[in-house]
């Protein structure tokens, strides 16, 4: 799966969680710029991504994510390891 494909699927998950289907995201987007992306919804987004991509993150990895781009890269890495 390419990074743009991951980003698009992630966009849908985040949109669902924060209640805005039209949400625009790019690699540089950070949580504090997205209304509704608080610590509680952050967990929902993580779980949503785990279900969507069939992967699992560990808590320590999630700490180092600075923006959506980092998140996409982490998912990509997990998908490669899965194969």
């Amino acid at each position: 799966m390419t990074q743009p494909e991951i980003l698009e699927r992630l966009r849908k998950i985040i949109g669902q969680v924060v209640g805005n289907d039209q949400i625009a995201l790019n690699n540089g987007t950070t949580a504090d710029k997205v209304p509704g992306w608080d610590s509680f919804n952050h967990i929902n987004i993580i779980i949503g991504a785990e279900m969507e991509f069939g992967i699992r993150f560990n808590v320590a990895e999630l700490e180092s994510l600075k923006n959506v781009g980092d998140f996409v890269a982490l998912i990509e890495q997990r998908l490669i390891n899965k194969k």
């Binding site: 610590s39 993580i46 808590v59 180092s64």
Partner: protein
């Protein structure tokens, strides 16, 4: 040593900066070592014996971190070392913050009468430097932190701008800055920005917070004898005192670090402008919220969600959530985290209640978001949009205010008395209710009311609220210069302006600095030194 003391401002700061850059010119490690030395001096200034405690804690944690890293490939062993490390740190905190208060409480209740437990002073900054190091150990175990050498580690923990009251730093954001060569070469731009931010922070402390202190202290002394306006004004003064005191301290820390070419994360982002409690927690003592989210909330919330997922139960969605799901997925981890955040402040039952109150607020806020009416986004008139913002702000501020009464009062009874006074049920001889309001207005126009001087208090409160609601915060004023490592959540202020390195700003800041210095004489401690 206090940031707002003449010793610090006139001798310590210029001296440590000058030698730091002189040494940095020749030898990076010498400059690091110098910074460690001055940081220890800064800490030991209060009580030289504390030096041993700080040094002991650092050596203990560094050793644990080193051993964890050596054994990362043997997860069982590294987990045991991590557990021991955590127990050591939490044990130290427990001893100094809770044990003696707890034993004292037993003593009061008539238990253990034959023993004398003695007393221990709460070592300054112990919660802060212990938390910083616990985070380091957990991250080392998670493979997220790498130890870079003893000197760097000591510098990270002791660096004096954050040592006593935060911001609570994450090694990931600080260690790389100390590793850079540029950090040790003087940069006039950073020094200028640092001094300017520091002057703003000092102004918050000495010009506003310290002026509100007498009124705030008075209101919590005889809590049952206040009339309604007096009670409201006093409690509001306290809310502003706490904010300006701690935000001022955090800005001074931000400015000081910047003078040494180091950027800190922000601790306050106009929290008293918040229009919801969730928003408030993302803007008040930001680095503590971030810390608790990372190490307490996330692991538990993830564990609960995954367990539900494996059982095939629904996850949280507005239209499908049951009460049980809400309680398990949201309320439980929230209450656990926020109550611990409350108790972190100390042993009193009032901190526990403070935590309970805030976790209740947050749960209500989430429930409202999930199940409450959805506000129409389009076609809302300007008036309604303003009104919508105003009631949300008012409710948020009121909720925070009530929690702060519990937070500040000596006992729960005191807090309850004061709340009673606020609804006109004070037991003292001063009148409450409508009469109190009228008298306060009369007083404002110069008709004396014997027992209370409202005028000063109202003026300072007014000025405080103008700063809070109308003017930009320091992060916004220095946005172009990147005041902190953190992004700003606040919407642009009603009046927006930016700091610029020009003569006008230089002049204005020089005047502000002069006023700061004239008012510094009081030398009052910061409220958060207690925690």
């Amino acid at each position: 040593m206090l940031f707002n003391s003449i010793t610090f401002l006139v001798f310590f700061l210029p001296g440590s900066l000058l030698v730091f850059y002189l040494l940095g010119y020749f030898q990076m490690n010498a400059a690091k070592f110098w910074l460690v030395v001055v940081s220890f001096v800064f800490y030991a200034w209060w009580n030289p014996r504390l030096f041993l405690l700080l040094a002991g804690s650092i050596i203990f944690n560094y050793t644990c971190g080193y051993l964890i890293q050596k054994n990362l490939e043997r997860p069982k062993i590294s987990s045991i070392i991590l557990t021991l490390g955590l127990l050591g740190n939490l044990g130290l905190l427990f001893y100094f913050k809770y044990l003696l208060s707890l034993l004292g409480w037993f003593h009061e209740k008539g238990l253990f009468q034959n023993y004398s437990w003695g007393s221990a002073i709460l070592p300054l900054g112990i919660s802060f430097f212990t938390f910083t190091q616990i985070g380091f150990l957990i991250d080392t175990q998670g493979g997220n932190a790498r130890e870079r050498g003893f000197l760097e580690y000591v510098l990270f923990v002791t660096f004096f701008p954050h040592l006593i009251a935060g911001p609570i730093l994450h090694h990931r954001e600080i260690m790389p800055q100390f590793a850079k060569k540029e950090t040790y070469t003087h940069n006039w731009n950073n020094i200028g920005i640092g001094i300017s931010i520091f002057i703003f922070g000092l102004a918050k402390k000495v010009i506003i917070a310290d002026q509100l202190a007498p009124v705030a202290n008075d209101i919590f002394k005889h809590t049952a004898e206040k009339h309604v306006v007096e009670a409201w004004a006093g409690v509001m003064c306290y809310s502003l005192q706490l904010y300006f005191d701690f935000a001022g301290y955090s800005e001074m820390a931000l400015g000081l670090a910047r003078m040494f070419n180091v950027k800190f994360p922000a601790n306050f982002d106009s929290p008293l402008k918040s229009k919801s409690i969730i928003d408030f927690w993302q803007r008040w003592h930001i680095t503590l919220t971030r810390y608790l989210t990372l190490y307490l909330y996330n692991p538990v919330a993830l564990w609960i969600m995954r367990r539900r997922m494996n059982k095939g139960l629904a996850l949280l969605k507005a239209d499908e959530t049951t009460l049980g799901g809400f309680l398990e997925m949201l309320a439980a981890p929230t209450i656990y985290t926020i109550v611990l955040a409350g108790v972190w402040h100390g042993a009193g039952i009032q901190f526990f209640i403070y935590g309970l109150l805030h976790s209740f607020y947050i749960c209500v806020n989430h429930a409202w978001r999930m199940f409450g009416p959805k506000a129409p986004i389009s076609s809302i008139s300007r008036f309604w949009s303003w009104f919508n913002g105003a009631w949300k702000w008012g409710l948020t501020y009121l909720s925070v205010l009530i929690s702060l009464i519990v937070f500040r009062a000596k006992t729960v009874t005191d807090a309850w008395n004061l709340i009673q006074c606020m609804i006109g049920r004070g037991t003292g001889d001063s009148p409450g209710g409508a009469q109190g309001v009228v008298e306060s207005i009369l007083d404002y126009f110069g008709v004396a009311v014997p027992y209370w001087n409202y005028t000063n208090c109202l003026i300072t409160l007014g000025i405080g609220f103008i700063f809070i609601l109308v003017l930009p915060n320091v992060l916004q004023i220095f946005e172009k210069e990147g005041a902190s490592l953190t992004n700003i959540r606040s919407a642009p202020a009603v009046f927006s302006f930016q700091w610029q390195p020009n003569i006008l700003w230089g002049f204005l800041l020089a005047v502000l600095a002069l006023v700061d210095l004239l008012m510094v004489a009081g030398n009052t401690e910061f409220l958060y030194f207690r925690f």
